[in-house]
Symmetry: C2
Subunit: 316 residues, 2 copies
Amino acid sequence: MNELLERFLQGDRRALARVLTRVENDTEEGREYVRLLYPRSGRAHTVGITGSAGSGKSTVTGALAAEWRRRGKQVGIVAVDPSSPFTQGALLGDRIRMHDLALDPGVYIRSMASRGALGGLAPAVNDVVAVMDAFGFDVILIETVGAGQDEVEIAGTALTTVLVNNPGTGDDIQAMKAGIIEIADILVVNKADLPGADTLVSQLQALLTLAPAGARRPPILRTIAITGEGIAALADAIEAHRVELERSGELERQRYDDARHQILAQAQAILLERIRAATPADELDALVARVAARELDPHTAAEELASAVLGTPLHP
Amino acid sequence: MNELLERFLQGDRRALARVLTRVENDTEEGREYVRLLYPRSGRAHTVGITGSAGSGKSTVTGALAAEWRRRGKQVGIVAVDPSSPFTQGALLGDRIRMHDLALDPGVYIRSMASRGALGGLAPAVNDVVAVMDAFGFDVILIETVGAGQDEVEIAGTALTTVLVNNPGTGDDIQAMKAGIIEIADILVVNKADLPGADTLVSQLQALLTLAPAGARRPPILRTIAITGEGIAALADAIEAHRVELERSGELERQRYDDARHQILAQAQAILLERIRAATPADELDALVARVAARELDPHTAAEELASAVLGTPLHP
């Protein structure tokens, strides 16, 4: 065990930051840290906070973190949204509440850039969350924008997913594709003092009636995150959801599904790396040129690449 | 060569529909059709029409199809958006214009369900477009929602990508993540008779000034698709974009990039299939259980799976 890991295990924040950087960059050393630390993870309550730009999800995230600090919990925040104030370094200045958070030693904020396109962002987020979990945070808040495959995937791996809506934009609901509302465990109408909040609650209720019979209906909560109103109730609902998950056995099933999905996604990434390593650049270029010239279709070209890695022809 | 293919090559629409179904379902027979037909593709002008729900992109798509019919072109439409009226079967009833389109033998409309989650939708759309291209359509319009990785990928493979905006929803621009606006070749402000159209045009212009110096600035066009206003000018701009692509050599570069991306994505899908085929269910289950119990991290489990397929250990 090296010195960095030793300091990590003693609770040194700078060691945490350095381990996370290696993990995020997906280096061999970073992977080794994930391997070593993974068995210590699985204790934290991971909470996905998702919603479109302007929904106030960053403010909700900040207010929740402050609430859990009052309850004596250690809180980690992973901001995946590139437009989040957590990511933008806008923690100083007028965002006093977040500034306070950033100075609180019981809160650790990590913002993430995206990892390569074909690999996807989700594996990197999972690794970062696992390491923060192993570090000992009680709650880990993962803030994402509620759009796109990556985002849905990230939100889906959290134990509890909160979808933040905002009465200011009537089109929000329409824009929220089925995928994201289906994985929401709790719906929040933030900025609940704005006109239109009642209408939005009714719309969300109507939307939920479309869910299949017998499906769990997520509760709808009202918050005014900027003043903190409704945040304690939201934290209660999130904690209640975890209790519900454990009681129903759903927690176990979710961990299995999640493990299966992560293993297959990572295996795919490994094999793609292998293809890239095994194929001389000029050979790939030649295949690309033939496909671009329409002499060959992409699937047949892909089979040639794949069979080179696999060592055996796919069509013997 | 079988009879179905023969009828396809003679221009039989029902043969086209049957080939497309096989291709969409990704059967071995479907792949064989793609292999055989791919060399005949590459002639059509593929146009991605993207925009959020309510932007009017379906109406723009319909109006463009009608315009190209007037110009004597054969038009294919691929509707990927599950909420599109093309997909919903809402072609009858009050959507007279689309009804007319559906009855026009010079127009072929294909709506697509999504293909499996890990494989992604984009490869299926590419295959369907290639087959329609080989069938002989002059223009193929691909309608997608402008959100999510799949969508950006699909829009990106079209020669010309049109982003449809709508002054009705001020949040549209904010919601349009950088990814989609960066790949737009032409910006459309639809419903240009609504209040707010001028503001939206100014906002888009402001957004475009953020583009890196020297980058091509996409033109901004106004349309009222429901009356057809501005549609002829939009069709002109789309045709002009293709001429520009050919003249600058960009078309060639785009075909290469596209081929490279498609080959690697397909190779990844093939390898995932291989992993699934090579791993006994109980072996995968055992790995899943160990990861769910946090005895093992997903990446190490994935390496075990991958090395089983590759035949050699990754860490000898």
